[in-house]
Symmetry: C2
Subunit: 174 residues, 2 copies
Amino acid sequence: MKKTIAIDMDGVIADIDTHYINWYERDYGIKLLPENIRGLTTDEAFGGATRKFVFTPGFFLTVPVMPGAVEALKTLSEIFDIYIVSAAVEFPQSLTEKLEWLNTNFPFITWKNIIFCGNKSIINTDFMIDDLIRNLDTFKGETLMFNSLFNYNHNHHRRVNNWQEVVEFFKDKA
Amino acid sequence: MKKTIAIDMDGVIADIDTHYINWYERDYGIKLLPENIRGLTTDEAFGGATRKFVFTPGFFLTVPVMPGAVEALKTLSEIFDIYIVSAAVEFPQSLTEKLEWLNTNFPFITWKNIIFCGNKSIINTDFMIDDLIRNLDTFKGETLMFNSLFNYNHNHHRRVNNWQEVVEFFKDKA
């Protein structure tokens, strides 16, 4: 039986940090530099603007794809059972947008392997790739922390900086 | 730590069999009797009409609540961590309808405890209540098969006939 990987969306296959920065510049005329907001919370960095963005129709539909994610997921899905696991239920309008975004950008991932949840504590796979500490902390399998501006100060999970590193990590894990 | 229960929607807390029968009578003028379609597949019983229904806007929003489900879930949620786990991703428009239906009928269940997935094989709770054999068969914890017209011929999971029996079962399981 293939080993299983739970893969997060925002901050992992969807480049939501860049999307926040772009929308913040568009709406407030301020171009934040990643190196200046690294290690802050999103509220500290964007003053609460992100909480408005995530409830704005179209926001989740237009997040840029994380560089290298499509190729990496294609490669991994040949050897592992991969599941997209996204904490989307908090933002009801995001559900259909996220599904459409996945169908557009990752058409090789079928609905059978997509999970939208409130929290990830009952997800049981062999591996989890996520950028949020609270998801990784409750996970029972092996964790990979995908590098983001907002997990910069946490180091109790294995950090991966990009999708090339993820593919490299999984080379001998099948 | 509280034990965890994964609870299905359709056929378990949502009385979808009755909903199918009502819509079938409304659209085709034929009133099917439960005792005449018991043990068939939904396609055998409704000739494919249900596949049209599940893609019809409003269908999932108007499913009647399963008798006794609200009171039972209130009781269980005091003692267990309960998660609503619904295989909804196959029908994209159902996602927001199902969320609205839950918020209306089960307002005490928060978004943190709601999971929409394609299949349930990576769900890890202590117990699962479901009417579909394929969900129960891949589950690693203890299973309860909620009685439905369409699982009539399966007997390799513990059958519960109604929500009173479920509450009774869980009395000494905390």
